[in-house]
Amino acid sequence: MDHLINPFLLFLGLAIGGLGLCAALPRRRVNPRVLGVVLGGLGIGIVLLGLGLKNPDTLPNYNFYIFAAILLGSSLRVITHPRPIYAALYFILAILASAGLYLLLSAEFMAFALIIVYAGAILITYLFVIMLATQAPSEDKLEALADYDIEARSPIVAALTGFVLLASLTTMLFRGAGDLPTPEAPVPDALLAQMPNRVTPEKVTASLTRIGELQEGEEFVSLDPMTSTVTIRGLEGERIVPIPAEMQVKNVEEIGFDLLNGHPGSIEIAGVILLMAMLGATVLSRKQVEFEEEAKLRQSQALSAAGTVFAEKEVRP
């Protein structure tokens, strides 16, 4: 069986990473957060290095390591930072790093869609809710943290389960990934055959002239999507040149074609999901009005009891 990594190195890295995660989770008294982050990074680093040792010729681009470090480090901070607002900001950093990984995987459209939809829309909603639903700090302690943010629930058990899961996932993955059959190379510009308006003779001629491929007295004859070539007829007969770069099929076109041609039903379902979410959110926020009176009542009670937030908590049944 072909292992992509020495199993000893893999389990060592995962154990160190698990220890680090366990140490980094928020705790009330002793809080070795820096040690935890260092240990976690070391563990992940050992696994990635171990992956590189066995296959030095097929390593990913070095940008991968930068983005992976930012992604995993900031997602570690998302779950360890005691303040929700910082956790959300670190999440935006994680989104940007994974958009970088998408770019490395030549998924340009999804990378930018991810930044626009996640960092631009979803995370702003989170930030609004964090601002709406945060307890007012009491007067004596401006920087008060809520009780439930300071202490993690059963960090040791959680880290143990998580890393046992990760160990089993990666063991299977690294044993099987080496045996994956290499996929057949598809034809790059085959989609052009289905987009007749995109490769009209005028457009191709204009494009060829712009890059200086088409000289005086030559004319465009035909374009073959299957071989990504253009045939040009000149004075001394026909010659074949590759399709100009601006005429090649772009990532956005491929995704759009796949989306609308291959999954029209899924788009409808996605629309229904979004509609349902909108209806649900509307219904939920209509209810909020009823609660507002109650909250006002409580607030006035608390004020009349002349107490801080803590006093108000005791008054309530």
């Binding site: 998302v78 307890q135 809520a146």
Partner: protein, 119 residues
């Protein structure tokens, strides 16, 4: 040991086939991200952070989808990330409306406050 010191992030033109051992680090990062989100979901007691952790897990799934789509040079994986984004957006809208509602009721974001819901 040959490092590919390409200075550009994205290659121009159609991508080439990728070795399975180049795919593996991406899948490892995706799995690690999923586990970090899972551990966060279990350990944190703040409702908002718990939902942030589910978004981390969505991210991990998306990364794996895009990595496999790159490996097979097929675009269905990337198309699927669009649906993952849709579900994440719907989930965020609903969950956050709920969180605000729950906060109004108990004046606290702690998940332990809703212990009686465990049936």
């Amino acid at each position: 040991m040959t490092f590919s010191l390409g200075l550009t992030l994205a290659q121009s033109g159609f991508p080439e086939l990728m070795a399975a051992s180049t795919l593996a680090p991406y899948l490892f990062v995706s799995a690690a991200l999923f586990v970090i989100g899972l551990v966060g979901f279990i350990t944190r007691r703040n409702l908002i952070i718990m939902f942030l952790c589910t978004e981390l897990m969505f991210q991990a799934a998306g990364l794996a989808l895009v990595a496999f789509s790159r490996y097979h040079l097929e675009h269905t994986g990337q198309t699927f990330v669009i649906f993952v984004l849709t579900v994440a957006a719907a989930e965020a809208a609903l969950a956050l409306a709920l969180v605000v509602l729950l906060f109004r009721k108990k004046d606290s974001l702690s998940s332990e406050e809703w212990r009686e819901m465990q049936g």
